[in-house]
């Protein structure tokens, strides 16, 4: 396996406030990497820095290309799709237009329509509500839509920012099951930041623990699950 996303010495923040202080992490091709961290650890900042939504220093390399200075709308063209925190659907657009929006970087035509049908099969609720405005969907449906929208860009790497936020436990379980299947059945590489550590670690290959802007522990999912300190702090048993 080769390294798909390699982040070294990432420094980022908001204005004068520096949140990330030299963060290192990587995602191997075909694996699920999970970043665990409490509120304020810098999880969302990490995501936004990788996708170029905020100014960043250090180095971010994706599939061999340095993307540290690349604009977000160009990063998605290279194959990184991000599902931002709070779902990030286009609430005034129909479900179908949301999926078309996700395919914005593609030429369009038959293959887009075929992909849309495919994701409707994975998320049948979206097919039922295809002409409804996305804003009228339930939280879980919107999260599914946000993921389907991101997948419409045919990414090599899917970034998910706290997909469980505000969702009922049963929906969260369903969501992680789908993310797991996207990885095992389609070989999609995924990076998830989560507070809901138990569910996330189940589908993870590697785990990074983020505290106040730096990675304090990392390893395979098994290693992390067996690490007493991390287990007590994040897995709660």
């Amino acid at each position: 396996m080769s390294v798909l996303l390699d982040v070294k010495g990432l420094v980022a923040g908001y204005g004068a406030v520096q949140v990330l202080e030299g963060l290192d992490l990587h995602v191997e091709e075909g694996e699920v990497a999970v970043i665990l961290g409490a509120n304020g650890a810098g999880k969302t900042t990490t995501m936004r820095a990788i996708s170029g939504m905020i100014a960043r220093k250090g180095s971010v390399t994706f599939a061999g290309t340095d993307i540290t200075a690349t604009a977000p709308n160009d990063i998605v063209k290279l194959g990184i799709a991000q599902v931002p925190q709070g779902r990030g659907t286009f609430t005034d657009l129909s479900v179908e237009d949301n999926l078309r929006a996700g395919a914005y970087i593609r030429k369009g035509g038959d293959s887009v329509d075929a992909d849309m049908r495919e994701w409707y099969d994975v998320f049948p609720r979206l097919r039922e509500r295809r002409s409804q405005k996305a804003g009228s969907l339930s939280g879980g449906e919107q999260q599914m839509l946000a993921i389907a929208r991101a997948l419409m860009s045919k990414p090599k790497l899917l970034l998910c920012d706290e997909p469980s936020l505000g969702l009922a436990p049963i929906i969260t379980q369903e969501l992680f099951a789908i993310l797991g299947r996207l990885n095992t059945e389609r070989g999609l590489s995924i990076m998830v930041v989560e507070q809901n550590a138990n569910l996330a670690v189940k589908i993870a290959h590697s785990v990074f623990v983020l505290e106040t802007g730096t990675i304090v522990a990392s390893g395979t999912a098994e290693e992390i699950a067996n690490d007493d300190i991390v287990r007590k702090a994040y897995l709660g048993y």
């Binding site: 996708s51 939504m53 604009a71 991000q82 931002p84 286009f90 339930s138 939280g139 860009s153």
Partner: protein, 306 residues
């Protein structure tokens, strides 16, 4: 008021001009969330460009098309050079800059086109002789001039609708309007999209200017003041983010205005009713609509579950 159909017809042309300026406001509002206070004055400058080209021996159609293209470029440059840098400072800076533009572009018009302070004759795009009308129904007449303006605005609104709903550029514009961050993450260049919105909006303004010039057969540097006031009212009435709202809002105000202006002299309080009363009545109606429906007649009151 036996001539009611006639009064309604009379209001359609000026109402269509309000609609067109309002459409320009809606296009920018959707992209940026701001009302462009300079919309009317930008249109004024473009209209004087059209006049200048016509005055130098071209046809009016060619002059208006060139002016609309120039306006497109001007709008895009204003977004890139003024609004974007201002937007990085604060939302309030954008409002201040667009108010400054309102004054600045008007002054620029008088500076570049010195005759604008006295007014210049403006050739209509449509036949506007005393006999150029059709009779519809018994005794109601509709001038070709007014039909031309009305149809032009309908066609432009239709094209804009198709652009928004059926093209990829339109999809990008709707994405940026609804969620700029997700638009970027989906690969849309928000900067280019906003430049495009400003360009389109300015072009619509240029056409609106040519329409009002043709109706008044004259333009001065004051022509757009009242038009802008009523057009922004029309956009508010229709819902600031709705192209259909702009169309309906503009036409309604045009008709209201025509009806109030035609208030019969033998009715009560007629001595208090005159041309400017129409504007006041229009604003009272808007006030009532906004109290009942704050997002305007067709504006989206955001349905959002979180």
């Amino acid at each position: 008021m036996g001539d009611l159909p006639q009064y309604i017809i009379n209001g359609l042309a000026i109402g269509a001009v309000y609609s067109l300026v309002a459409l320009g406001l809606v296009v920018i509002y959707r992209g940026t969330g701001h009302l462009n206070f300079a919309q009317g004055e930008m249109a004024l400058f473009a209209t004087f460009i059209a006049w200048w080209i016509y005055d130098h021996g071209s046809t009016m159609w060619f002059a208006v098309i060139v002016a609309a293209i120039a306006a497109f470029a001007g709008g895009a440059i204003i977004e890139f050079g003024l609004m974007r840098p201002a937007g990085k400072k604060s939302p309030l800076a954008v409002v201040v800059v667009s108010i400054a533009l309102f004054q600045g572009v008007n002054s620029l018009t008088t500076l570049v086109f010195k005759r604008s302070t006295d007014g210049v004759p403006f050739q209509s795009l449509f036949p506007n002789g005393a006999d150029d009308f059709v009779e519809i129904g018994d005794g109601t007449i509709w001038y070709y001039q007014d039909i031309g303006v009305f149809l032009t605005v309908l066609v432009l609104t239709g094209l804009l609708f198709l652009l928004f709903q059926k093209t990829k550029i339109g999809l990008a514009m709707r994405m940026v309007a609804n969620n700029p961050d997700s638009a970027k993450l989906s690969g849309v260049s928000t900067n280019k999209t906003l430049m495009l919105s400003w360009g389109i909006s300015a072009s619509l303004g240029a056409v609106a200017g040519a329409m009002i010039g043709g109706i008044n057969v004259n333009i001065t540097n004051f022509t757009m003041f009242e038009i802008f006031l009523l057009s922004s009212a029309a956009a508010t009435l229709g819902g600031l983010d709705s192209p259909l709202g702009a169309l309906v809002g503009g036409l309604s105000l045009g008709i209201i205005r025509s009806l109030v202006s035609s208030y019969p002299e033998d009715w009560p309080i007629s001595e208090y009713i005159n041309r400017s009363t129409a504007v006041a009545v229009a604003f009272v109606i808007i006030l009532i609509v906004l109290v009942v429906r704050p997002s305007g007649l067709f504006g989206s009151s955001r349905v959002e579950r979180v």
